[in-house]
């Protein structure tokens, strides 16, 4: 009897868990060189399963890419004595420098509110704001402003319906990385959902690195700041002198 019950549980429970993600990336490294002008990463994969594909509810795929997080101060202007000045400021504890969510259908349909809260998938959930000063009652509008400003510059993207899913097994999407990209490990997550519940999750990282001259200059500016400063001045003086010499030569 117990064995029968076990078999029963296995039969109904496993199909929900027994879906696994096999992932491919067009490249797991983005190199920032002098000509860097944004990049596109192809994320594709397949669903591996032990049991036959359940028909309902349909499989949905959500892909998120998040840049390194940093605290950001959001300031708000108000009119005081007839002029507009910064009055209130709220520090948002963790805001990713870049965040993209791509889904196979409307995000609200493929992910329930509780699962969103647990995994922090949607943009408002990915931006974490904990402590606002006592005198600010509407700290929510500060995080909204952050998202609005970052979305306007394509740093935050919600791309609904851009993940294509074939036969509930193969999926692929392309994520556009903007030209203004900071260095770091970009955490990439893939969620498989059915009826709003996450049935499988896969995490990997895309490494964004400066290379060549960009890398050399950046390191020099941090590790040998004095030399870097002198070098900047030397270039400035040399350029100033050079232009003067060229112009004098022209006049002769």
């Amino acid at each position: 009897m117990r064995a029968l019950l076990f078999a029963f549980v296995l039969l109904f429970a496993l199909p929900l868990r027994a879906e696994e993600i096999v992932l491919g990336l067009s490249s797991d490294q983005v190199s920032i060189d002098t000509n860097f002008d944004g990049s596109e990463i192809l994320i594709f994969g397949a669903v591996k399963r032990d049991a036959p594909t359940p028909d309902e509810p349909r499989l949905q795929v959500i892909v998120t890419v998040a840049g390194p997080s940093e605290p950001v101060t959001v300031r708000r202007k108000e009119k005081r004595f007839g002029i507009w000045v910064n009055v209130d400021a709220v520090e948002v504890d963790q805001a990713p420098s870049f965040y993209a969510v791509s889904t196979s259908t409307v995000l609200g349909l493929s992910l329930s509110e509780t699962e969103d809260q647990r995994h922090g998938v949607s943009i408002p959930r990915a931006v974490r704001s904990v402590g606002a000063p006592m005198n600010i009652t509407d700290s929510e509008s500060f995080s909204q402003a952050l998202i609005r400003i970052k979305s306007a510059s394509n740093q935050y993207q919600l791309n609904e319906g851009t993940v294509s899913v074939d036969e509930q097994t193969l999926f692929r999407t392309a994520i556009k990385l903007p030209a203004a990209l900071t260095e770091g490990d970009y955490k990439t997550r893939i969620f498989l959902t059915r009826g709003g519940d996450v049935v499988a999750k896969y995490e990997t990282s895309i490494f964004v690195r400066k290379v060549g001259m960009e890398r050399w200059l950046f390191r020099l500016s941090r590790e040998n700041a004095f030399l870097y400063g002198l070098m900047s001045l030397a270039i400035a003086i040399a350029a100033g002198w050079g232009a003067s010499a060229v112009f004098t030569a022209f006049r002769r």
Binding site: T34, V85, R148, A180, L230, S244
Partner: protein, 304 residues
Amino acid sequence: MQIYLPIAEVSVNAFLLLGLGGLVGVLSGMFGVGGGFLMTPLLFFIGIPPAVAVATEANQIVASSFSGVLAHFKRKTVDLRMGTVLLIGGLAGAALGVLVFNYLKAQGQVDLLVKLCYVVFLGIIGGLMFLESLNAIRNTKKGKAPPRKKHNWIHGLPFKMRFRVSGLYISVIPPLLVGVAVGILAAIMGVGGGFIMVPAMIYLLGMPTKVVVGTSLFQIIFVTAFTTMLHATTNFTVDIVLAVLLLVGGVIGAQIGARIGVKMKAEQLRILLAMMVLGVCGKLALDLLLQPGELYSLGAAGGH
């Protein structure tokens, strides 16, 4: 052609930066101003982070001032003696200004003070200069000789020194005080201070306009070189690639500017500078008075 800036971490159009540098360079060579007060807002506008814009701008001004001052040296329109006296005062003032700035920062609202400072100073300086040079132009048209230099209390001060290039024999105290005052303001407002220094030299010290431009550029080189080193070693915000793009345009512009400046009449030069100062003042005033499109702004944490 897009170029990725290693420190600013943004990608920008190289030709746009060359053009901007050239434009500001012309002004620099013509008027003896560094141009930081014009360039910095322009860099903000094309998406360079403010901290990087301010620091890199200082480095670019070193180049365009150096280029400009060489052109003025050839015309013997640099008063080295006066420049050195102003510079000594200026560096002392800048050190004092940093203290004042930090004190104000602790009290909060330093941004507002800086902007109000700008509007008030630019408004007064620009307005006075505009009226004065307008009168000068009218007088020359009517054929009236410009009024003779009057002797006043300044000439009674001790420690007199002869400034041959400027044709002055005055006490070193007024130039030192002017240097200190400009140094303080420059440190608070985060600029080289050329646009305050130039009118101060013309009206307070009575230096001839032609000499003023070269002398101002001479002392700006040192102030901005000092600022560049300070930013590079403490904030790591000098972007050398951005600086090179700006200064290639800047040094060429400065040469052209210095040549235009020499061909122009002193009153015309002054009235143009006055108009430019008033224009910047007007823009800043509008920013404070009109409701901005986006009330919120983002900044690095901890910087309030």
